[in-house]
Subunit: 351 residues, 2 copies
């Protein structure tokens, strides 16, 4: 298969982890006789520094001309603590999601048997957890109208959803549930929010078309609790943009490290694959960033194009690396000298 892949390494540890994924994908291409080409472009703080724009046109054009996008991470502290900054790295990511219509962010959460002791949660709580989170990604309060009064003393954000926005991701979630344990849990705050009540209504209607899938409802505050008390109760979680942001980061503690969690952001035309961790500026260039999340996003990329055998091989390599303690310090209590690069090399060699 021929695949043109746009690579957007971004900020902080983004470039170093993305490099490992490229290495691994190249090994896969060699092994299975595919032709993957990689073209790199700027996004985030680095793009602001170089082009004064967190998402330069050239980057967007490249993404649109490629089959898939491999994304690193973005964000820089110099913007975080400046509430008056007009341009911010995050705008690049948000605009990219919107422009490419990546309306569904899919985040698998699994407890690895080899890493059970790494989680802050007790083993009996997490063992066997297997969740797929479907987070709406191009609507809600992230993209609603924002307002700041002239005197700067009143600020607002609008959370808006339409039936269509809810329907399309709901179908994806129910289709996924059919291949899994046939249960969808809608996380919302329907006892307070009008938008959540629309979610509850529309999702209920769509559910009628999937008679073999059970639909549950959970208020987001309760969901935040249940995710820790009993994560095994969940199969597919479906939720809006902001709740999905919170709940999926929270869920990352189950696996023992956020450095393991990958995600796919898909739409009708384009697809982007990225680790769920951020740019982790303190770790930049130190070789301590865990590349597994990025490498697993590369496997989601392969699966997206039906290359299941290839994806499986990478997952095997990842499992092996975890078993052998070829892991970065976040999950390695035995050796503290395994670098980002070494993990990538091991997985490359295995393939």
């Amino acid at each position: 298969m021929k695949l043109n892949i746009a690579v957007l390494p971004g900020d902080g540890i983004g470039p170093e982890v993305t490099n490992q994924s490229i290495k691994v994908l190249k090994a896969i291409a060699l092994m299975f006789d595919h032709k993957f080409t990689f073209k790199t472009a700027d996004v985030g703080a680095v793009a602001i520094d170089r082009h004064n724009n967190p998402l330069p046109d050239a980057t967007l054009d490249l993404c649109k001309s490629c089959d898939a996008i491999l994304f690193g991470s973005i964000g820089h502290p110099k913007y975080d603590n400046d509430p008056t900054a007009k341009v911010r790295p995050e705008q690049g990511l948000l605009k990219l999601r919107k422009e490419l219509g990546l309306f569904a962010n899919i985040r698998p959460v699994k407890a690895y048997d080899t890493l059970l002791d790494k989680s802050p949660l007790k083993q009996n709580i997490i063992q066997g957890t297997d969740i797929s989170i479907y987070r709406e990604l191009t609507g809600g309060i992230y993209f609603g109208e924002k307002h700041l009064s002239e005197d700067g003393n009143v600020a607002s954000d609008l959370c808006e959803y339409s039936r269509e926005e809810i329907e399309r991701i709901t179908h994806l979630a129910f289709k996924a549930a059919k291949t899994r344990s046939r249960k969808v849990t809608l996380v919302d705050k329907a006892n307070v929010l009008e938008s959540s009540r629309l979610w509850r209504k529309v999702v209920g209607e769509v559910a009628e078309q999937y008679k073999d899938v059970t639909l549950d409802f959970l208020f987001v505050d309760n969901a935040a609790m249940q995710m820790i008390l009993n994560p095994k109760q969940f199969d597919v979680i479906l939720t809006e943009n902001m709740f999905g942001d919170i709940i999926s980061d929270e869920a990352s503690v189950i696996g023992g490290s956020i450095g393991l969690l990958a995600s796919a952001s898909v739409g009708n035309k384009y697809a982007m694959f990225e680790p769920i961790h951020g740019s982790f500026p303190q770790a930049t260039g130190k070789g301590i960033a865990n590349p597994i999340a990025s490498i697993l996003s590369a496997t989601m990329l392969l699966e997206h194009f039906g290359l299941f055998e290839e994806a499986e091989l990478i997952k095997e390599a990842v499992d092996k690396s975890l078993k052998l303690n070829i892991s970065t310090p976040d999950i390695n209590s035995k050796y503290d000298n395994v670098t980002t690069d070494k993990v990538g090399d091991f997985i490359e060699d295995f393939i």
Copy 2:
């Protein structure tokens, strides 16, 4: 001291747990020679059933005429799954908060040494945790304009904050921090939301007046993770309404049971005390509801009026009951026949 206390038992397990608090407060009054009077009124689903109004005028008037309010819990499944219901129990609680100007919800989160094994989190993670969450309670997306399009296909909620709303709770949080470990963590989503950027700006300015308190910022997604990875890093958490709802329910897992967590909702004129758990309809009338959260809200009520010795005595009684396993099934793995009433009786007798 003379105190007129309005009692709003509400729905589900609300009445049974509130009864224990009244029992305990009466014992305190007897012991310390105070005069507490209790007047009860309807709120929530029960008020809809009886008066077709989740917050009847008589209830609001009673609250305004009393020194403090003891609240049970509200909510009923028949409204949760009906997105078209025009009247809902929660409106009663929200209107009460707004009408009484209860702008700060204070939720202490502690790991009880006797209950360390009850938490889904590992002991070393939670031992020593002592957090006080300051959640803004009368603004944000809970109270912003709501809209549903005529055809019912587009719904929205507005999240709005003004400088004044942020300032007043920020002062409370910093004052509290001065009596604790002198650290405030603002939880927001300033990389995406305009309202969060206003929070970051205003809180930063107020912080200047409290030079001996450290101010930290954390994005809400990261906070949801840090709360589980390392809860001991937190002292006072300050946040807006919706994030506070989610983060504080999540934090409840630290103590081992949401049945232990109390809260105070305070404003300039009024103060209300309530357990953070909901109405838990499945448990209603079974005698399995944990009354500790309600009883501890009664101690927050006493502290609010400077009755620290009295509050301390109740806390001692609670500790004792936990040590002796005089606890409801949620935290009692030894005996399964200790009812709500028995826990209340024990604490009453101890006093």
